[in-house]
Symmetry: C2
Subunit: 687 residues, 2 copies
């Protein structure tokens, strides 16, 4: 079965043909377009970072809300450190390998694999958390949709997967609008709220009037328990850092000077993220947002606490600043937030094939993920990503708070290892560098990365301690499984390569003495004649035609027709008492091999090339099965002689023009005058 | 992707390897074993036929129960007529084509297709109804299982499918025991009950004390409405006739004289079925079984009428005759009934591939269903059958009464058409037959078949009228869809054959002038050397090696290695700016074709033969994709040069020995000394 064609065609049915190029070359990205594409993930995470901090702190009731300030300050400092550290990576490794390349090069391949496994888990979590948060915000705007939370989340994942399977260009312009609208909206909201606070008309959140019962066991904390609460709040807030390294993976996509532009963009991203995060957190404390994980712990809450959720922090802020939950500003903020979160989820669908391609290049994943031509492989990756993310959303009921526990671990593993790798990088550079000025630069850079490594390492420990039992163990298990699998794949490829290696190519070459050609014949029609003609053209030493007498009458008719035609090639008829084709042919071919072991047997099988996928169910099936069985016999090669059915002339296949993630690699689209159109087309015809 | 291997291997995981033959040839069936195999379907349907009659009549309350006698008498007469008619088919068409062959030969292929579509629908319904009834009887024995009714039914279907996928031999002995146990059990039960009635100690059913409210709209019927009720009861009782034609499909499996033995067996089956059905119906009326479709219409019913079902008629009879619902006799009857119903469902899994094979032979279904070698095709049919039956059970909540509405239509369509076809058969025979004695025989046979055709035709109309709106329309739709699809497939094959037909084979043969061989090289290893050697052995006019520079360093290394080895064959390197393999190769091959249109281009691609299915995910993928794209180019043939990896030597493939339905075709199993074991095995080694 031509699985490839059927899969392609099912996809064509589902998602339509790939869009034709607009006729322009894809260009490298200017900074203003690169920012939305690469920074939508970290910028969007400010939508839920503040909320997560507050949700942890309100486990102790209202008493510890003021710690939010300290947690936010710590997150901001961490963000600054990480951004500064990664700017070094951007300059030092402009090929776009990102964390994986840094760690592989400096700490060894096993550590690199740990990063790779963490990043793969991270991509899945990006999709799950972003979509869950987007749905959260949509429900904050339209509360009646709360019953469909999980369904909506899974539907969004399916939509994203479909769009990416279609191969829609990750267009910078499509990303730009929602991202900039989100940024401007949030900044305006924070500015307005702070201004009102300064003039004495502080906005008041809708939940300001509620009290919060502490969660059982979290009341009246002191000492270590209080510290732990603070640390948990901080580690939840660290979700604001997810996606910061995306730019380091995308340096090749920038215009020249690539590293400088990338570093500038990263700095801009860090600044904007800090501004937005600080603004939101400050505003949340000013307007006294009282939000709790379990709505039933709110005192004074009207409505059914089991079915009515609270609005998200951003929603409450927008409502309080812009005049209520039905104002234009409120819906603007919610729409922009939801859109940018969806875009953030989309980055995973584009970044994932990129990472998979690099891993495949190093043979940690199946090799076909490396080359672009196999659209099927990328599509499989997209489908796998969507399935796992969907399963997570279903299992955790699209709860952002529960999903976050799995999210942060992978990110900080990658941070810590890559900063450590950078420190070793600068050590090596220092040993080789004589110039004093550059040595000073290296010292500074190494210091930044060292601080980053230590800080993120501490945070990693904190995150492990605070979140392991709450769900992070799942992420750990997944990463371990991936790590083991990738090592296994690499080991398999290495073993295979060793098995196939040749010491002396000239000595290995044992040429077969003769070629014994066998042409499979079912009826005397055009494909058979072509197969005979092609087989004869190769001038074999022995040429015979072979048919299997599944139906005795048909076999006799064929034999008489063959003799009447007077071919030089003899027709051999195999008996088939069990109504089979494959077994008699394989046995016969094996018998030839036993008689003449130094011959190579060349089996010619006609194969139909069809235009519509379902026609493959009606043809070629027996031929494909037979081919696969024949390849088991030694000394055999199987030749497919195609015949283009008229349905193929009417429905020729057009290869797609774009693979996912190509924008991030800085690859241009194929020009319209590319000569790879379907059959029979003139090369000069444009598409 | 070697889908074939993966599917095989998943199945091996799920269902284990196919069982090896016990070492004996399969023999043709003696009558005593043929009866259980072919008659389990009609004999088992007496388990629910009486029940269905009573369920329809009690829609009018208790007032019309006595009509059951008349309905039963009508069913018995009809059964006798149909059995006599089909004995003619068995003598006239001993090749086992059954209804399909009779109708195709005598009424034309379109009518034959109608029969085929009806039979295909019928197979699905056999599975659904038999399993539902079996579960019904199990629940009658263990009432606490009622909550799992649908789940149990679907589980049974899955079990049957798994067993058949494994290819377990449809052993006559395995069928014999439950069938004969069922027959003897029911006959003993009826005899005991009648005897007790004669001596004045009539058995009393557990539901005898209940009254029944008439269903809304079905009370106080008179005239036409009463007649309709009677007809509905009769048409529900006609379910006792389902499966009668199975023997006519299985004549080749009997020992000689085949037709005579088949006819005798059919007569025996008819007699036993009539005895059992009459006995059960009589006993049901004697013991005053009061059974209603909606248990809430029973007056005096203790227990929750929404969750507690009534016991089946057979269960109530067994309980009343053998002393209660915990007696040995009761559990014996229930066990035997459930077993024989499961076996009846199994007949569909064996009969279906048989019918599909015949249809494929006539090109109404994909051709690979005809030959045995493709286990995959048969397996697909079994899976499809199981899926549709499971879906029906789920949709109708495993309710026998609701499923029966879809069941009977297909059966009586087939009856009517085949009896009509037989009438034409005898007409033709009479025209050709001069002998007076034989003419008398033909006249008698024709009369029997004519009566049969008229009667079954009337019943068909009755069934249509009474059951169309209750669910039979689904069966009609399904049959129509199948009919259209099969005609479409035949038309496609006919069009293709016409397109490919050759008028003058000698004139068509335009031999290519030269062979231009291209060997695809990725690295210089053993498979590459073998591909080169094989290509060189075919002595092409032009031979070149081709590689694609996906990675520039690797390409340069290969080039220098190639030059250092000093091959005669030049190595051509194609650039690949888009990280692809397929497109550059296809473009290059097309360019050769444009330069020399009369050459044939022979592309040699190394292919790995692996032992474990998942290894196919790591190799061959790009090669398979490339092969499929290359076949689109004109004047190209693609040759796979296999290399057996060591994992293949460790895990060689063993072909299976048996296809489902082979017993019914009278096909022997492959003898153990068949030479089709895996690679490297000595032919004399037994399995």
């Amino acid at each position: 079965m031509k699985v490839v064609n059927i899969v392609d065609a099912v996809k064509r049915l589902l998602i339509g043909r790939a869009l034709p190029s607009e006729g322009l070359h894809e260009t490298l990205l200017p900074k203003r377009l690169a920012l939305p594409i690469f920074a939508s993930d970290p910028l969007s995470s400010v939508a839920y970072a503040t909320q997560e901090i507050l949700l942890v702190l309100t486990l102790g009731g209202l008493a510890y809300l003021h710690f939010a300030t300290w947690a936010a300050v710590a997150v901001v400092c961490l963000l600054a450190v990480v951004v500064l550290s990664y700017r070094q990576v951007v300059y030092a490794y402009p090929s776009g390998g990102g964390s994986y390349e840094v760690v592989s090069t400096n700490l060894g391949p096993s550590a690199g694999l740990v990063v790779a496994a963490s990043l793969l888990v991270d991509y899945v979590m990006t999709v799950a958390v972003s979509v869950a948060s987007g749905v959260d915000n949509i429900i904050s705007a339209v509360p009646s949709l709360n019953a469909y939370r999980t369904g909506m989340a899974i539907a969004f994942v399916a939509l994203l997967a479909t769009v990416n399977l279609r191969g829609v260009r990750e267009s910078g312009r499509a990303f730009a609008a929602p991202t900039y609208l989100f940024i401007t909206g949030v900044l305006i909201m924070c500015a307005t709220g702070l201004f009102r606070w300064l003039i004495g008309d502080a906005p008041v959140a809708e939940s300001a009037a509620y009290g919060i019962e502490p969660a059982p066991g979290d009341a009246d904390l002191a000492g270590l328990a209080l510290l732990m609460l603070g640390l948990r709040a901080f580690s939840s807030g660290c979700t604001a850092l997810t996606g910061v390294e995306a730019i380091s993976n995308g340096v090749p996509a920038f215009r020249k000077p690539k590293s400088q532009n990338a570093a500038t963009t990263m700095g801009a991203m860090g600044l904007i993220a800090i501004l937005m995060f600080s603004g939101i957190t400050a505003l949340a404390l000013i307007s006294q947002v009282h939000i709790a994980e379990d709505t039933c712990r709110l005192t004074g809450f009207t409505g059914n606490c089991h079915t009515t959720p609270q609005r998200t922090v951003i929603a409450q802020l927008a409502a309080s600043v812009f005049g209520g939950a039905h104002s234009v500003g409120f819906f603007y903020i919610q729409t922009a937030t939801a859109l940018v979160l969806v875009l953030a989820a989309n980055t995973a669908f584009n970044g994932f094939p990129l990472l998979a391609s690099i891993l495949a290049q190093h043979r940690y994943l199946p090799r076909q993920l490396h080359t672009r031509g196999d659209r099927l492989a990328f599509s499989n990756g997209i489908v796998a990503l969507a399935l796992v993310a969907g399963a997570l959303l279903w299992a955790f009921h699209a709860s952002v708070t529960n999903l976050i526990h799995l999210y942060i671990l992978g990110v900080f593993t990658s941070f810590t290892l890559s900063q450590t790798g950078m420190v070793r990088h600068w050590n090596r550079a220092l040993r080789a560098e004589p110039t004093a000025a550059r040595r000073r630069h290296h010292h500074t850079a190494r210091a930044i990365n060292a601080v980053g490594a230590v800080v993120t390492g501490l945070v990693l420990v904190v995150v492990l301690l605070t979140k392991f039992t709450q769900g992070a163990y799942l992420a750990v298990i997944a990463a371990v499984v991936l790590w083991v699998m990738m090592r296994g794949i690499r080991r398999h490829y290495d073993n295979t390569a060793a098995e196939l290696a040749v010491a002396d190519p000239r000595a290995e070459t044992v040429a077969p003495s003769r070629v014994h050609a066998v042409v499979l014949v079912s009826t005397l029609h055009k494909p058979t004649l072509r197969a005979l003609a092609y087989a004869r053209a190769t001038r074999p030493d022995v040429l015979e035609a072979l048919t299997v007498a599944v139906d005795r009458n048909e076999a006799e008719a064929l034999k008489s027709q063959w003799d009447a035609t007077g071919f030089d090639t003899p027709l051999k008829t195999l008996a088939s008492p069990y109504r089979e084709v494959t077994r008699p042919v394989v046995e016969y071919v094996r018998s030839i091999g036993r008689t003449s072991p130094r011959d190579v047997i060349s089996v010619f099988i006609p194969e139909y090339v069809v235009g519509r996928w379902w026609e493959n169910l009606l043809h070629n099936q027996s031929a494909l099965w037979l081919k696969s069985r024949l390849l088991f016999a030694p000394g055999v090669m199987v030749t497919s002689v195609p015949w283009h059915l008229s349905s193929y002339e009417r429905h020729p296949h057009r290869p797609s023009r774009r693979a996912p993630g190509s924008v991030r690699r800085g690859e241009p689209a194929l020009p319209p005058w590319s000569r790879t159109a379907g059959p029979g087309s003139q090369p000069e015809r444009g598409r």
